[in-house]
């Protein structure tokens, strides 16, 4: 058992090392702006704008459920205007970024891994290299930059949608007025709440796209390899989101 644990640990460390090397190669491609710059805006649209519907859909229902859950929990012991507080804080600081991140790990991460994996097994990546293009500049950088920049944008919209639908649910399904909801929303609000959510989501965008590119370009074999890379991307991305979620809470939310 110890030997198996050791092998797994070594395997994990090797994987981290390979990801570090991959990241270093990606950073080294940064000066090749001519290559990645052209790809950046179409990729930002694909990763960001095209992800809005699923992010808004999730946020809308999360907002409704949060409002109802808050009122159910308070059961008369806590003033109902605090529904606004709970919906706002939770949506901005936790559920908005994390649920959107998990959804986009599937949508964006899997898409990147499948696309690059298919390019790898059909030798399109080799073709890029023989045509004197660096795959890190042409394929990886636009995706990683687009993910890091656009995830906070998508999450910002998701936050707004979550709070809006929380307000709709509160004012139509609960005995609470708009003024009361807004009072609760403002009560403990500080601008850092939004910053915290956006910082987290930028880190989620970075790791999801980096893992998708790393595993996609590392694909071996045919369709099975592509499937495996896609699945591993979603699983590793989800794990990394939760780890980063804890990391940001530990580093930014601990009382001084």
């Amino acid at each position: 058992m110890l030997a198996a644990l050791g092998r797994r640990s070594v395997g994990f460390m090797e994987e981290i090392g390979r990801l570090g090397q991959f990241l270093a190669d990606t950073v080294r491609a940064l000066p090749d702006v001519r290559t990645w710059g052209r790809q950046l805006f179409p990729t930002m649209r694909r990763i960001g704008v095209d992800s809005l519907p699923i992010a808004l859909f999730i946020a809308a229902f999360t907002g409704i459920v949060l409002a109802l859950l808050a009122s159910y929990t308070f059961t008369g012991a806590v003033p109902l205007y605090l529904v606004g507080t709970l919906v706002g804080k939770t949506t901005m600081m936790e559920l908005g970024p994390v649920l959107t991140g998990l959804a986009l790990a599937g949508r964006v991460g899997a898409n990147i891994a499948a696309e690059l994996g298919t390019m790898r097994v059909t030798e399109q990546v080799d073709a890029l290299e023989t045509l004197a293009f660096d795959p890190h500049a042409y394929l990886v950088l636009p995706r990683v930059i687009a993910g890091t920049v656009m995830f906070p944008v998508v999450v910002a919209f998701a936050m707004a949608m979550g709070i809006f639908m929380g307000w709709v649910a509160a004012t139509t399904l609960l005995p609470i007025t708009t003024a009361e909801f807004l009072r609760g929303l403002r009560l403990f609000y500080v601008p850092f709440d939004i910053q915290f959510g956006l910082i987290k989501s930028a880190s989620f965008g970075f790791v999801i796209t980096l893992i998708g590119c790393h595993l996609g370009l590392g694909t071996r074999g045919g369709a099975e390899g592509v499937g495996s890379a896609t699945t591993r991307t979603v699983v590793y991305s989800a794990e990394m989101i939760l780890l980063l979620d804890a990391y940001w809470a530990l580093t930014l939310l601990r009382p001084a």
Binding site: Q124, E129, L131, A132
Partner: protein
């Protein structure tokens, strides 16, 4: 000149190349033949630095490929055209964009790029195919576009990986003819990887047979036709018997 010098390559426990040595002289077409899984494509990928050798080296114009820095490797690759076995066209781009792809690295005007793409497609008998997508083309047409993409760069060297594999005999003959015509038109030095002996006899100046990870025999087309080596004879005649089949496969090569 391209030179393979005592090239060794293994993938895990699988030994693929075991001291491959052969030279390709300027202006000639060397055909490397050998059975499936003998490491022909692996050897070719070393020329453009897609793979790194475990030992030995590939030299292009005296430069050891595996020792080149990234920028030097990019510069060297710009002199080499690579025609992939399944064309490896970028399937999200039109034929025009595929052929123009490598040209955009160079400081060429859009008008020059358009002219070069049209000329390259004409050379492979596909004039006017610019607007089509790779998915709309047959296997033979895709290979021709792959060749057009490679020659658009006006390379000094052309590497062909199984250019006629999977094609019907007529289309394969068309590809052979295009390869000969390309050499005559552009004066390129070529390496062709194939197991199609008819193609090898048509396009090659010299033929080298890869067997058990190294060159078993090399010579002119006529020398190979007249060979007395039983392994080479069996291969070029396509006979299933005569030599122990198991030994004809490189141990575990994919």
């Amino acid at each position: 000149m391209i030179a393979f010098r005592e090239l060794y390559k293994a993938f895990g426990p699988k030994q693929v190349l075991l001291g491959l040595s052969v030279e390709v002289h300027d202006g000639e077409t060397l055909v490397i033949v050998g059975g499936s899984g003998t490491g022909k494509s692996v050897a070719l990928k070393h020329v453009v630095g897609l793979l790194e050798p475990d030992a030995g080296a590939v030299e292009v114009d005296g430069q050891v490929v595996s020792r080149l820095r990234r920028r030097e490797l990019t510069e060297m690759r710009s002199h080499i055209g690579y025609v992939f076995q399944f064309a490896a066209l970028f399937d999200s781009m039109t034929i025009f964009d595929n052929v123009a792809f490598g040209l955009r690295r160079r400081r060429m005007t859009e008008a020059d790029i358009r002219a070069r793409v049209a000329e390259s497609l004409r050379l492979v008998d596909l004039p006017g195919a610019e607007r089509q997508m790779p998915a709309e083309l047959s296997g033979g047409m895709r290979k021709r576009v792959g060749l057009a993409r490679a020659i658009a760069l006006r390379p000094k060297y052309l590497l062909y990986d199984e250019p006629t594999t999977g094609l019907d005999p007529v289309t394969a003959a068309v590809i052979d003819e295009l390869m000969v015509r390309t050499r005559e038109a552009l004066g390129v030095t070529s390496i062709v990887i194939t197991h199609d002996m008819r193609s090898a006899y048509t396009v090659g100046d010299r033929i080298a047979m890869l067997y058990e990870g190294r060159i078993r025999q090399e010579g002119t087309v006529e020398e190979i036709r007249q060979t007395a080596d039983p392994v080479v004879r069996q291969f070029i005649e396509g006979r299933p018997d005569g030599v122990d089949q198991d030994s004809a496969l490189v141990r575990g090569a994919a």
